[in-house]
Each structure stands twice: as structure tokens, then as C-alpha cells.
Amino acid sequence: MTTEQVASGDMDILKTAAEWRENGQDVALATVVTTWGSAPRPVGSQLAVNGSGKFIGSVSGGCIEGAVVQEALEAMRDGKPRLLEYGVSNDEAWEVGLACGGKVKVFVERVD
């Protein structure tokens, strides 16, 4: 599946999530809950994803969005919330690449 970032402009992430859901689409939300070091987006930053892989908002400067969107699509399928960690200390995450050297924890949940 290809993912595609929706131009956000003045669009509101949580409002968009609600609209997608009302239109019958699967939706998941990702939220930055912890950061260490020079993480690019502050705690509380959010991203909403729909079932076709479209997303709005950001949880990093673009480095981990792809991986987060994949986890969000998984969460839509199994309904389980996830707490993901990305950063330099995590080999797998290093490949995903937080090039800035920061570390973040991202909570991913389905909108039921």
C-alpha cells in the first residue's frame, strides 16, 4: 500500500479524523507521548491515518511517519493500541531513521 500525506494547511487533525470516521473509513491516531534529545516534534503532536493510508499531521520531521502509518494500519485491523519507540538506541528504529538523533515514543490507537 502506498501512503500519502494530505496537505494539512489549516486543516485540523482531530476534526479530519472524526470526518473520515463518519464517512465510514477506518481511522487511527498517533500521538507523540515522550521525547528525548533533539526530537523534531514536541510531545502531544498528532497524526491521523485512514484505511487507505492517507495521513494528516506529523510525529517527526518526516523520518518515521512511514513506519508509524504501517503500525496505524495494523492497529485498524486488530484494534490493539501500541506504544512504539523510535530512536538511536533502537537498531530497528535506526534503520527507519530519526536522523536528528532524537528519540520518541509514539502511541497509536484505532478510532473505534
Partner: protein, 228 residues
């Protein structure tokens, strides 16, 4: 997230009602907390009180595991009285810094959409405008007209509000006279100490844009250092 939680959260944000979304990071269970709830003594309520005040989300440890408290405070607002040159520089800066900007000026030729693209303009007298706008603790009030007829009523209204920042343009001498006039309206020295006058950080600003930088810097200082 339950759809009704998302719906309620969006309604609260639209109504500018401060709200905290508490999420248990293990179970995914969620709850919305309001300022009235944040008077309680439970771990989550105490934590909610802290994030309302600091405007920074945080994770707290509870007996049920870690809980993330995301805070949705109403947007920051800046009310600028006087559609003058400095306002033309200050309004876009404030927008970039995340403020909703309202420029108040009853003089029709000044507050025009051409001079202030994308800014809310109110062409009423400052006392009526302030009555409508209801400055709160997420609001900065800046008066820039130099004209007591316009600045004074706005300052009086700001002093009666919870505005986190009040600043007024004018020299030390102009400001001293202004304080005398406000005193006659019944404000005490302690009340009037809330007004930054002369306005802005002392950085030797000369041009309208530089003065706008010094004002934006001072507002940021009050917003961030008070909360820290």
C-alpha cells in the same frame, strides 16, 4: 479511542473549553478531564491541573500504569488596539507564533483587509470590542494608538480581565500620565503594575518591525517564563 470521546473532544475544542485527554498507555482506556475535575486529589486529577497550567502534555505514573495527559487549551489570542504600522508587523509575527490575532480600531481607514490580510478586524470602540472579545488568561492585550481615547478604555478592560499580558506603547512620560488617568478610574498601583509600559523588551528597537519583535519577545517571556 471511542468515537464519542473524539466527538466530545472536538466539541470542547470548538467551544474553547480547556480539556485534558487522559490515556492509559497500556490499556488504551481514555477519559476527558475539565478544570472542575482538576480540583480533585487523585494522581490523574493532580496531573491534569499541572498540564492545564504548564500547557505541556505529560506522562504520569499511576497504579494502573503510565497515563498520558494531553492538554487542549484554547488557542492563544492577541488583541491589538490600533491598526498602526507596528501592528502591521506584529500581527503576522503573532500569527506565526500561534496566536489568533484581532486588531481593533474604530477608525475605518486604518483597519482594512488590505493592510491586515488574514487578520480579524474589529472596527468598534475598544470598550465595546473588549466586551465582545472577553480577554482570558490565554490572551495578550497590546495598545498601540498613542491616543488615550482609544488606549485607556482597552487598558481598563484588560486590567479587569485575566489577560496574561498587557502592554501599552508610549514613552516613560506618556506612560506616567496614562497611569494617572487610570488611577482616577479607580485602579491601584498593584493593578497597574500589570501593564508593560514602555512596551517591549529593551533591545534598542527603532523601526516598526523591530518594535514588533521587542513586543513579541516580551509576550513570549511572560507566557513561557511565568508558567515554567
Amino acid at each position: 479511542m471511542k468515537p464519542d470521546v473524539l466527538k466530545q473532544l472536538n466539541e470542547d475544542r470548538a467551544a474553547k473549553r480547556p480539556v485534558v485527554l487522559a490515556t492509559n498507555l497500556t490499556s488504551g482506556d481514555q477519559k476527558l478531564l475539565y478544570q472542575t475535575d482538576a480540583e480533585g486529589q487523585s494522581e490523574v486529577e493532580t496531573g491534569a491541573r499541572a498540564v492545564f497550567a504548564s500547557d505541556k502534555p505529560a506522562t504520569i505514573e499511576t497504579v494502573d500504569g503510565p497515563v498520558f495527559l494531553n492538554v487542549f487549551n484554547p488557542p492563544l489570542r492577541m488583541i491589538v488596539v490600533g491598526a498602526v504600522h507596528i501592528s502591521q508587523a506584529l500581527a503576522p509575527m503573532a500569527k506565526l507564533a500561534g496566536y489568533q490575532v484581532v486588531v481593533v480600531d474604530p477608525r475605518g481607514a486604518w483597519a482594512t483587509a488590505e493592510r491586515f490580510p488574514g487578520v480579524d478586524l474589529v472596527d468598534e470602540w475598544p470598550d465595546d470590542a473588549m466586551e465582545q472579545l472577553q480577554p482570558d488568561r490565554r490572551t495578550a492585550v497590546v495598545t498601540l494608538t498613542h491616543d488615550p481615547k482609544l488606549d485607556d478604555p482597552a487598558l481598563a478592560a484588560a486590567l479587569k480581565s485575566d489577560a496574561f499580558y498587557i502592554g501599552s506603547l508610549g514613552s516613560t512620560r506618556t506612560h506616567a500620565k496614562r497611569l494617572q488617568r487610570l488611577e482616577r478610574l479607580g485602579f491601584t498601583e498593584q493593578d497597574m503594575a500589570r501593564i508593560h509600559g514602555p512596551i517591549g523588551l529593551s533591545i534598542g528597537a527603532k523601526s516598526p518591525a523591530e518594535i514588533a519583535v521587542s513586543i513579541m519577545g516580551q509576550i513570549t517571556q511572560d507566557l513561557r517564563q511565568e508558567a515554567a
